[in-house]
Symmetry: C2
Subunit: 395 residues, 2 copies
């Protein structure tokens, strides 16, 4: 739909709840698909029409979700509002909540997580293991932090970073001017983190209900390439003791920000079994897409249950091993998938295409999840199906 | 959307295929939800706005699918058309196909299945076991058939029956005038079937691809109440030999009508292990709703794959036992579900609400599927969740 005026009113279709999602990307899409069986009417708002989310809901509003007036129109007739990204300002969410529509996660939770410096302080204050970090307001602060924490050091934007964007690794004091310039230091608020010598990266989805009840999904290993999640292995090939410690850390991290909904907790694992929280995402998360076919109740359905105040479903795996491989664009062109028939021929491989109109290098266009008797089998299936698919052909 | 004029055009969102579904009920809804992950844009057409299907797609057309002009508007820009009910006239489908948009199942298949007398003749000609049957054009024909086949005898409308509507059981010749009157004999084409002394009812979904490749889902037992499917037990608690024979019959029945898509085959099982085909439904079927959580690839996803010419997914169960319980309305009122929180608290129970605006006695408003280690556990869970839900409250 091309304008707010043409958006159908939020007529109840007899369902229990009318849920609004701020944002219309693939996370909104998968959340809406999980909400439908529960009889929930979903409305999305996104800046462009025909977003991945808009394609699967009856009511989609085209509008700028950073504009309070557009948000107010969006909120009309909704029972609960949630969000699919951490970039909407917490103050806007507070404004929405003051109009009488509950927003989950709350603006309070968002104000503790969307600024990564405040997020780190919150986690550290709760006794959770995090890399050393420090606010920096001038290049000299960065040099001083390097002298104290050691090099390399990671310079980070406090807000709006994702998939490696907003991060700059400094190998020595000589790199500081380039990093400061690149990330817009002076105009953009920055902080630094000590480089944490990880052997692998772990993650866990935690869904926390409005009543504080929570479920912790299996701890997974995430394989990154160029700072973008490439594969997720469930369960992570780590010892039960490490998995249990990581699950405990994830659960406490999510409780520390008083989360409501499904949150992704990214963690580092060192070669000697120590764990640190890398980042908390206040939303459904790429490391949890495997839960759609992999778990009794997906991160998306549990997110819907949590924000609507309903009991949470179980996070248990339904197969011995589940592997997810992201489908990333490699070049500009159409978002149409080539090779779908070959991908669908792979046993127990589940293809998810996001319906994006255009491809671009590194753009997340879909994912494949495969189950198997062990990680090797699931990974081989997921990789084979993913390898069959490509995007960007102009024909 | 309230009129065809306000329907967004079938703009490609970068996906591979644009699929139209004739009908907007729960079967269209669940098919659309299965199509979305494959990047398929779905359009539905239904007589009333805000249908269960319309709620989960971007493009919904309100129009009468028995009107050729409405169908032609609907077909514009679509790659393939399918249907969710057997009531659309085969000749209308032929007309659609002549406009250049492939329709699956084909009008040829529909002309062999939607008239139940022709369906029975087709199955019998293929050597499949069916109850004895005969065309009747006058009450005297019915009396003669009863004398030959024995009583009771079932008088049936050749078209448009479902859930027991269009059937009348005659205990003796004395019942013939009442049955003839009730079903509109003389105006409505009728036939009779011998009563087949079944011990239980079985069913199987078969998905058949455009290339004739097919997959047969596990044979299930269906429990009917008042001719409406009430529970489905997967796998059916029968011997492996019986299950294998039923699967073979189902597969041959679907091939006999040259099906493309997911079809439901309802069968009778006698106490001495004989099987007869009761009815073939040329569409996804209530006896296969359990496949959403119960099988590697659901009947809905496989239907989409079949009609689009893509490889079929595996029909294997993902748990030892899966039970589905239908959620039927008991009284007029709203379609809003009461008791959802209690239902969602049941372990591994999956609630599906169809978003219908109003309830009515016997109306299918949703279903619950539960998995378990055995049928008893799955059935207890599904029944407990279903019992928590009710519809029709006016508040």
């Amino acid at each position: 739909m091309s304008s707010a005026a043409s958006v159908p009113p939020a007529v109840s279709s007899g369902a229990n709840a009318r849920l609004g999602i701020i944002g219309g990307g693939q996370l909104a899409r998968m959340t809406a698909l999980a909400a439908a069986p529960l009889g929930v009417d979903v409305t999305v708002i996104e800046k462009a029409p025909l977003s991945p989310g808009a394609q699967v809901v009856h009511r989609a509003l085209t509008g700028d979700w950073s504009d309070p007036a557009a948000l107010a129109r969006f909120a009309q007739g909704l029972d609960v509002i949630t969000l699919e990204n951490e970039f909407i300002d917490a103050d806007l969410l507070r404004g929405l909540e003051e109009t009488g529509v509950p927003v989950f996660p709350t603006w309070g939770t968002m104000s503790l997580t969307q600024d990564k410096l405040i997020q780190k302080r919150t986690l550290a204050a709760a006794g959770l293991p995090v890399p050393e970090f420090r606010e920096v307001t001038a290049p000299a602060d960065v040099v001083a932090a390097g002298a104290e924490f050691g090099w390399p050091l990671v310079l980070k934007a406090r807000r709006n970073g994702y998939d490696g964007k907003g991060n700059f690794t400094l190998r020595s004091a000589a790199d500081v001017p380039a990093g400061w310039e690149k990330l817009g230091g002076g105009r953009v608020a920055l902080y630094v983190e000590a480089f944490w010598p990880f052997q692998s990266e772990l993650a866990a989805i935690v869904t926390r209900g409005r009543n504080g009840e929570s479920v912790i999904y299996p701890v997974v290993e995430t394989i990154q390439r160029d700072h973008i999640c490439h594969e997720v292995l469930a369960p992570a090939p780590v010892s039960p003791a490490v998995a249990a410690r990581a699950a405990d850390v994830a659960g406490r991290a999510v409780a520390a920000v008083r989360a409501v909904g499904s949150f992704g907790v990214e963690m580092f694992l060192s070669s000697d079994g120590r764990i640190a929280v890398n980042e908390l995402a206040p939303r459904v998360h790429n490391s949890g897409h495997y839960t759609i076919e992999g778990c009794v109740c997906s991160q998306f359905e549990n997110h819907v249950r949590a924000v609507l105040g309903w009991p949470l479903g179980r996070p248990d795996l339904v197969a011995p091993a589940v592997v997810m491989v992201n489908l990333l664009g490699t070049r500009p062109g159409t978002g149409r998938a080539e090779g779908l028939a070959a991908a669908l021929a792979v046993e127990d491989a589940h293809v998810h295409l996001y319906g994006k109109a255009t491809s671009a290098a590194g753009r997340k266009l879909g994912h494949v999840t495969a189950r198997g008797r062990d990680l090797a089998e699931a990974r081989e299936r997921a990789r084979r199906a993913a390898a069959a698919l490509s995007f960007g052909d102009s024909t």
